[in-house]
């Protein structure tokens, strides 16, 4: 017999290969890749579009690449998480391919983590391509760029941010065994934290809660309030902003982030913003990384536990 007791690594890599081939051949993933490149191209072409409208020449911008977080924004993280994680468990059950897969001599733990690792590798490769594209494009369109050595921090932050969304999609998918519910559940969380949370935070002054929830987080300002004379620079505290915040910390480590709420009954425009509290940028970063790690570990652990016990009735 040609079968030997294969090492755990060989089986793990077989699952990774299986999943990566699935990921890169999905129409959804290829579509998302096109969207991401389109968004990046829009970022790059923004200066030229404005120039065409106003007639003014495109000014060199040495901080374009670092300032734009190489084109990766919260919604992109969310969409990439959906297209890479939707299939990890739920689609296997939906399509019935879980039956021959789990009949192989590979433990469910190996299958689960092999698939998760494949999602990570797929994202890593995709984000690397996007970053190279944006860096070269930024250089070509806006001239020589500053602080390009910090681009890997954008990559690290983007991976962190997406992994949170992956763990959310994975959790919904494993519990429901439905890709649709996984996508809709994650969309619900994204809408809740991004839109409803932001509105409630601004109006009720309870935005600090968003700091402890995955997503865009609370919004604070450095150097002044959100509007009016001496307007400040906006800083998002959430897990979606780990990359930009890390870069900001290296470039401006003394930044203090101040939070405001809208004073609905203010008689004059200058009194619209009520100052709530301030904290150093380092605290913002540490909190968002801790939140990211805790949610990721908890959601992945629950998904893994459920998958290990799942009976294949399909």
């Amino acid at each position: 017999m040609s079968v030997s007791h294969a090492s755990w690594t060989a089986k793990f890599l077989a699952v990774v290969r299986y999943e990566i081939l699935w990921n890169i051949r999905k129409k959804k993933f290829l579509g998302m890749l096109v969207v991401a490149f389109a968004i990046s191209t829009l970022f790059l072409a923004g200066g030229h579009i404005v120039s065409a409208i106003t007639g003014e020449p495109v000014e060199p911008n040495p901080d374009f690449v670092i300032g734009s977080n190489v084109g990766l924004v919260g919604f992109v993280f969310f969409l990439f998480a959906i297209v890479t994680a939707m299939n990890i468990i739920s689609a296997e059950f939906e399509s019935g391919t879980i039956v021959p897969l789990l009949a192989k001599p590979v433990s469910r733990t190996t299958v689960f983590f092999g698939k998760l690792f494949a999602a990570f590798l797929t994202l890593l490769a995709t984000y690397c391509f996007l970053m190279i594209y944006m860096t070269i494009g930024g250089f070509v369109v806006y001239g020589p760029q500053n602080n390009l050595h910090l681009v890997p921090l954008s990559l690290l932050g983007a991976l962190f941010s997406t992994l949170i969304w992956i763990s959310i999609v994975l959790l919904f998918g494993t519990l429901s065994r439905s890709s649709l519910i996984a996508a809709l559940g994650a969309l619900g969380v994204w809408l809740g934290t991004t839109i409803i949370g932001q509105i409630l935070g601004m109006l009720a002054g309870q935005g600090w809660i968003l700091t402890y929830i995955p997503g865009v987080g609370n919004v604070g300002y450095v150097g002044g309030p959100p509007s009016g004379p001496g307007v400040g620079t906006a800083v998002s505290t959430g897990t979606d902003s780990i990359g930009p915040n890390l870069i900001n910390y290296i470039l401006h480590h003394s930044w203090k982030v101040t939070y405001y709420k809208i004073d609905i009954g203010a008689p004059t425009p200058g009194q619209v913003w009520i100052k709530l509290y301030s904290e150093p940028l380092s605290t913002v970063i540490l909190t968002s990384i801790a939140v990211a790690l805790i949610y990721f570990i908890v959601f992945v652990a629950i998904s893994w536990y459920v998958f290990r016990r799942a009976q294949v009735t399909e």
Binding site: V3, W22, R308
Partner: protein
């Protein structure tokens, strides 16, 4: 090891429904063992328990001398399993799938390079090996499902309805393959509702209904258990009273009756005594045109068993 599959009081419930009820199943090594039952009898559930896809709720299961436990993949490296209408990942090519599954079995590169083309050739998919499975017909997917079950040169092959989706030529090929495997010392455990298929290849049969074993043994043993006396139906030319007298004189004959040109001979033995009956007819001056054992097909036995079970006589 006398039995490659041995279950004791195997019980599986889905809520209040008892799918398998205290099943004692014994499959001898080096046999082709048929597993028969109507739809919903509990066949697929039993097979899924054997390969670790479902948890048992009671009793014990030993496969190839090992307790199957839960999520213990080692024993699966010695088993080949073909699910009912196997759902294989459509994003992979046939050759890729076999290669990846081979890696999961721990097969070395050389072994995979030898075994994969051999199996593709055997199931008639050599020309389509580099096409995506999503482009395969149902019959082709069924044949690839068979190939993946034989990839690891298993000691035990578990086949769930292997004839489904195959054309008559494909069915004959699968039957020949099963016979070939048995010759090479592989035990085949075959679940099917195609009685004709089981009858042609199986040496042993277990029949279940509503999760309960109705009968188990060789076809001959089961037939004896169910039908009592066997009737030989002979079409005879020059049928006369002398012919009837000669046949009646045979010690194992219990009754003889006429039906036109046909002679119905009821015998008390389970042995094939057609040649003795034929000699007696010839001795009486008759000419045997045709002779059959009446009601000995597996289908007759199966229907009788289920009917008797319904009436509470078994």
């Amino acid at each position: 090891m006398e039995f490659v599959i041995e279950t004791t009081n195997l019980t599986k419930k889905y809520g209040s429904l008892v799918a398998v009820d205290k099943l004692d199943l014994k499959v001898k090594a080096d046999t082709i063992h048929g597993f028969l039952g109507p739809n919903g009898a509990g066949k697929t559930t039993t097979l899924k328990i054997l390969v670790g896809l479902l948890k048992l709720d009671g009793g014990s299961v030993s496969v190839l001398g090992q307790d199957i436990g839960w999520d213990k993949p080692d024993v699966r490296s010695r088993i080949g399993y073909m699910p009912e209408l196997p759902k294989l990942p459509k994003h992979l090519k046939g050759r890729e799938l076999l290669d990846i599954y081979g890696r999961m079995y721990g097969m070395a590169k050389e072994a995979r390079e030898k075994q994969v083309p051999k199996l593709l050739d055997m199931v008639g998919l050599r020309e389509r090996g580099n096409d995506l499975i999503g482009t395969y017909s149902k019959g082709m997917q069924q044949r690839l499902g068979m190939a993946q079950a034989l990839l690891n040169e298993p000691e035990l092959v578990i086949l769930d309805e292997p004839g489904l989706g195959l054309d008559p030529v494909g069915m004959v090929e699968v039957r020949d393959l099963m016979k070939e495997m048995a010759k090479e010392g592989v035990t085949v455990f075959l679940s099917s509702h195609l009685l004709h298929e089981v009858e042609q290849v199986c040496t042993h049969v277990t029949i279940i209904n509503k999760g309960v074993e109705v009968a188990s043994g060789t076809l001959k043993q089961i037939s004896a258990k169910v039908r009592g006396p066997v009737t030989i139906e002979a079409e005879v030319d020059k049928l006369s009273k002398t012919v009837i007298k000669k046949v009646k004189e045979l010690s194992f004959v219990t009754d003889v009756s006429e039906d036109g040109k046909k002679l119905l001979v009821e015998v008390k033995t389970r042995d094939d005594v057609r040649s003795e009956v034929s000699q007696a007819i010839t001795a009486g001056g008759g000419i045997v045109i045709d002779m059959n054992l009446k009601g000995e097909s597996l289908e007759d036995i199966f229907m009788d068993l289920l009917a008797k079970r319904k009436k509470g006589r078994l």
